[in-house]
Symmetry: C2
Subunit: 221 residues, 2 copies
Amino acid sequence: MERRFESELKTLKSRILEMGGYVEQAIDVATEALHERSSAKLDNVHPLERKINEAHVLIDNQCVELLARQSPFAADLRLVIAIIKINTDLERMGDQAVNISYNAEHYLKDRRIDLADDLTKMAISVKAMVRNSLDAFMKQDTTLAQSVLEADDEVDAFKRRMFDQLLPFMKQSPDLVESALDLILIARNLERMGDHATNIAEDVIFACTGEDVRHGGGSGQ
Amino acid sequence: MERRFESELKTLKSRILEMGGYVEQAIDVATEALHERSSAKLDNVHPLERKINEAHVLIDNQCVELLARQSPFAADLRLVIAIIKINTDLERMGDQAVNISYNAEHYLKDRRIDLADDLTKMAISVKAMVRNSLDAFMKQDTTLAQSVLEADDEVDAFKRRMFDQLLPFMKQSPDLVESALDLILIARNLERMGDHATNIAEDVIFACTGEDVRHGGGSGQ
């Protein structure tokens, strides 16, 4: 029984990792498309989101089956529950990537605002958060998970910096309002992805230690 | 054993309902505070979010213990997993209510833009989604859960309507940009709360029928 559990857990973990890979690709595709102002490229986020959604349903069902058949407890149980939660967060990152594609309409057509460098830097930070939160999960590394929680502050700072740069554009010219607003919403989408990676890191810490680090500061995101 | 499980499930369900009550209160407090332009009243969202967070940790731990001790399967197992997920969505609604309080700074000080009526209507729709998704959960009523999925389109329409009204303000006068942007972000926060209620409704349908209605249309939120 034990061996069967370990083997199924291994499959689940590799599926989570694969799903995380699609999320990273979706961030890359979206960021490059914005950089190149390519609507066609931005559409490539959608097939990636479909893969994320397929993985989501597959992993969720496999977790329920595993719990039903093997009735794990203690650390093993916490691990399967962590996978259920991580799966949900990855799926919602996929939604956010798609939201980026929906929010880009005016920005794609208007080259007068160019924050591609800042956007790319922010996207790199978010991708690192996704990667590190999943690495922390695979290695059960709480120190790495802790570093993801700290990186979230960096992503929030990127978002504020983008807001600060975009407001003057909006005030300067009425016909820049829509494209600046697109970027504000896109920065929020990326920030939300960072929040989901933070949730994953918290779940990893809980799964490893049984210790709840959520709501530590008593404030929301 | 069976009787013990039923009794613990009853406690969990009533805690979820209580938590949903705090979420509804948080929406009320935030909306009324925006209506009255009262920063002091808006601060009352924070103690509600703390209650939501406390309930979140309590329910999560109780679910893990219940799974470990009773090893439920089939419909019972799906129900406990649904509670774990619903719990997460309610907690994130609390975050969104707090985000509303963070996004209101300029709007509170500037009475030239007044979309209180639209905001209140949108908030009422979102509250109904929260209430109905939890009622559907309590009664295991998939028809009611289905109605929540449909109500999400209404909330999205409210958001678009607010965007359409706010853009002219932003274009009309540079010094209206910040307060209009506040309301755009607040409308997004409310929309996100509706998305979380949608997630709950989907979890209810899955818990009741084992049928996965997520990703039905293949598109993100």
